[in-house]
């Protein structure tokens, strides 16, 4: 079988993506579907801001408004931010450590398809009797009282996509532990790889409580269990604890990779080694560790008692220390550097004040007495949007510009990128800065309208105008993507000219086997070291050219995930008297999943080899075959 076949038709390309186990193609799948859900979530955000544009607006009904805020939060966190970050992790991390693929290529694909079907399932709720409407936190007392099947779409959909994320986390951890190139010690790993590592560890330990909480929710609502049913002895606080034991680490799962992307950007575009690399690494680990001990600060007003509140308030404030270390390390990296203000760098510089603002309001809320005042007001909304948008979304936009050439082999336009940046950045502050004051003026969150006599009209109007600016920014970005793709100007290995890490030493996009020869890493910023020493190839090699072993593609991950998707419908209608077929659907779905699992484990899948001759042949063609078979 020749593994380096040539051009194929459209159907073959689709089939290739459906069966791919190549981390770079899975990254593209994550990017496209995450980007799609980002647009969906953005559309929901725009509807919220239109509704709140003026007092007493009736653009949305109260019930629909509840559904839209719930889906906005859920979509943005689970279906947009996480997969977009997973896209960059998939695309870049294996290249940064000099690996040919991730540890479990098959599971990588399975993780994506589970996320994808979970997301689709969740969003089908719009067309099948109404979306979930208990907020993205889905507190049990509200969720159990919710009529229709919206909440069930939420819990089943997130269960499925949560499995996918857990699989992705384990996969990245093993990849980093076992598959680093020779010489790539832990303390030589690029910071994006480090943050991927810690974020994956958080995924590993934080997703199980969520899964269990969601299971309880499913059993309570669909199978008659009583975990949260107070009359039957249940307790709704259990949901809140399980949700936030997951939910707080989740914030760091999102923001740590964002820190990683910015760390890469600061070093590249200041043309300097990261200041305080070791401190940055340990700060990352510390943040991950503390992230598990602060969840109850989301629950100060629940009535946990003064002891618990005091403990969690203190722990929360401590997290500001490692975060502060990071901020200063970045500032000192820029200081004295030879800076070029490219689009990614502009995002990175804008990120620092934005994120610090979100951090400062976070410390304010860490004081439990003050939190009683701020809780459930727009101050909270402003705070977490400053952290998530000011930290994570800016990183995603910056990362898209930074890694686009590595993923697609073309450069996004700098000019349009700047336009996007200014619209988005101004719009972001316009939207959310004013919401701090709305909160202090007493405007409650999650309420679908307000009265004209409450004096919140002007600030809400300003906030809505800001949202429009952000929307324009995103649209310009889409235009940018389309124009860049149409123009198709190919770029070389190191399009930014100052790449420091291994991914910039190989073609853009890389060949499907990444490295014809495994590189030998001689220090932090290994590509930079080789460049400085005048090594034209950009790498020294740890092995002679020889046969390369690659995994086979497979359609099974898609079928396995589809089985879960089918089973979820069975569970959804389990208690409906009018739908006696539900049990059968549940069994068929699980049958598909476990059947394909059995097929996978009984069939030997040993992969294939690319011969040395094929590698030499490919190198002559530019060495960036994408491996269509």
């Amino acid at each position: 079988m020749s593994s380096l076949a040539q051009k194929k038709g459209f159907g073959a390309v689709i089939w290739d993506y459906l069966t791919t186990v190549d981390h770079k193609k899975i990254a593209i799948l994550y990017l496209i579907s995450g980007g799609f859900f980002f647009l969906v979530g953005g559309l929901e955000a725009m509807m919220i801001r239109i509704q709140l544009m003026k007092a007493g607006n009736d653009f949305l009904s109260a019930g629909l408004y509840n559904e839209i805020i719930t889906m906005h939060g859920t979509t943005m966190i689970f279906l947009a931010a996480m997969p977009l970050l997973l896209a960059f992790m998939n695309a870049v991390m294996p290249l940064q450590i000099g690996a040919r693929d991730v540890a479990f290529p098959f599971l990588n694909s399975l993780g994506f398809w589970l996320f994808f079907f979970g997301g689709i399932f969740l969003n089908l709720s719009w067309f099948m009797g109404g979306a979930p409407d208990a907020g993205w936190t889905n507190y049990a007392s509200l969720a159990l009282a919710s009529e229709g099947h919206g909440i069930d779409f939420y819990s089943l959909g997130l269960t499925i996509s949560g499995f996918g994320t857990l699989i992705a986390g384990i996969n990245f951890l093993v990849t980093i532990i076992n598959m680093r190139a020779p010489g790539m010690t832990y303390m030589r790993m690029p910071l994006f790889t480090w943050t991927t590592f810690v974020a994956s560890a958080l995924i590993l330990l934080a997703f199980p409580p969520l899964t269990i909480g969601l299971f309880f929710m499913v059993f309570d609502r669909l199978f008659g269990a009583n975990f949260f049913v107070v009359e039957m002895g249940g307790n709704t606080i259990i949901w809140e604890h399980l949700f936030w034991i997951f939910g707080h680490p989740e914030v760091y799962i999102l923001v740590l990779p964002a820190f990683g992307i910015f760390s890469e950007i600061f070093a590249i575009f200041s043309r300097k080694r990261l200041f305080g690399y070791t401190a940055l690494v340990f700060a990352t680990i510390l943040i991950g560790f503390y992230g598990f001990m602060v969840w109850a600060h989301h629950m100060f007003t629940v009535g946990l008692g003064p002891t618990a509140n005091a403990v969690f308030a203190l722990a929360t404030m401590i997290i500001a220390v490692p975060t502060g270390i990071k901020i200063f390390s970045w500032l000192l990296t820029i200081w004295g550097g030879s800076i070029s203000f490219t689009v990614p760098m502009v995002y990175a510089v804008a990120f620092i004040p934005s994120f610090v603002a979100g951090g400062v309001t976070g410390v304010m809320q860490a004081m439990a007495p003050l939190d009683y005042q701020l809780h459930d007001s727009y101050f909270i909304v402003a705070h977490f949007h400053y952290v998530i948008v000011g930290g994570v979304v800016l990183a995603i936009l910056a990362g898209t510009h930074l890694y686009w050439p590595k993923m697609f082999g073309t450069m996004l336009s700098e000019k349009l990128g700047m336009i996007t940046f200014w619209f988005f950045f101004i719009g972001f502050h316009l939207t959310f800065f004013i919401q701090h004051f709305l909160g202090l003026l007493g405007m409650p969150r999650r309420v679908y309208t307000f009265g004209a006599d409450q004096g919140w009209d002007l600030f809400n109007m300003i906030s809505s105008v800001g949202a429009l600016f952000m929307a324009i920014g995103v649209l310009v970005m889409l235009v940018n993507v389309v124009l860049t793709t149409v123009k198709n100007v190919r770029v070389g290995n190191d399009p930014w000219g100052d790449g420091r890490t291994l991914e910039w030493a190989i073609p853009s996009p890389p060949p499907f086997y990444n490295f014809a020869q495994t590189p030998l890493v001689r220090g932090l910023d290994t590509y930079w070291i080789e460049k400085m020493e005048g090594n034209k190839e950009g790498m020294v090699y740890a092995e002679p050219l020889g046969d390369v072993h690659m995994p086979n593609g497979s359609i099974i991950p898609l079928i396995m995930s589809f089985g879960m998707f089918v089973a979820a419908f069975g569970a959804l209608y389990f208690l409906d008297d009018s739908k006696p077929w539900a049990l059968a659907v549940l069994i068929i779905g699980l049958g598909i999943t476990f059947g394909s699992m059995l097929v996978r484990s009984l069939k030997d899948d040993l992969g294939f080899h690319i011969t040395k001759e094929e590698l030499i042949e490919d190198a002559k063609r530019g060495g960036n075959t994408d491996g269509l078979k």
Binding site: F104, I177, P208, G224, N226, F227, G233, N235, I245
Partner: protein
Amino acid sequence: MDLNKRYTAQSWPDHPETATLEGKNKFVGFWLLLAAETVTFASLFATYLALKDRGPEGSEFTAAGLFELPLVFAMTMILLTSSLTSVYAMHHMKNHNFKAMQAWLGITVLLGLTFLGLEIYEFNHYVHLGFGYTTSAFSSAFFTLVGTHGAHVLFGLSWFIALMIRNSKRGLNMYNAPKFYLAALYWHFIDVVWVFIFTVVYLMGVIG
């Protein structure tokens, strides 16, 4: 890797489960999964402890009144012994003695099936007493915790059986050795969870 390569006891590597990169990856990945499973079961235990003996007004079911130790003792002994028999199986795997490994795995599976049978009998008994899944918060938490463990037992048994049948003709090689090893690890983990279940649920339940 060559599936047809024949090993002898003398050429069989010291640690066949981690001798290939693929084996190493599986080994680390599986341990990480066990770490995640630890947190999963912790969430179930935590919920069980929070909801222990809680029910609707006038509910008669409590742990102290419900659980009986003799059956639990038998189940515990059976599962502990099956842990030892899987250790024997891995001992023979490392010695490249395929037949002995299969035999010990067979004993492990039989013990596991007995355990599962007793558990089904126990659950059935409770349901007949009127203590069903939907009876109270306590019943939901109990059945979910112990039932999840039971589901793990079932999965572990299916895994062992599938491996034994699939490889019965071709013997041990570098490709399936890690699989046997991980299935055995999984089986030990199931036993670890059971140690906490019999202590926290049954023993601490009986004394109230």
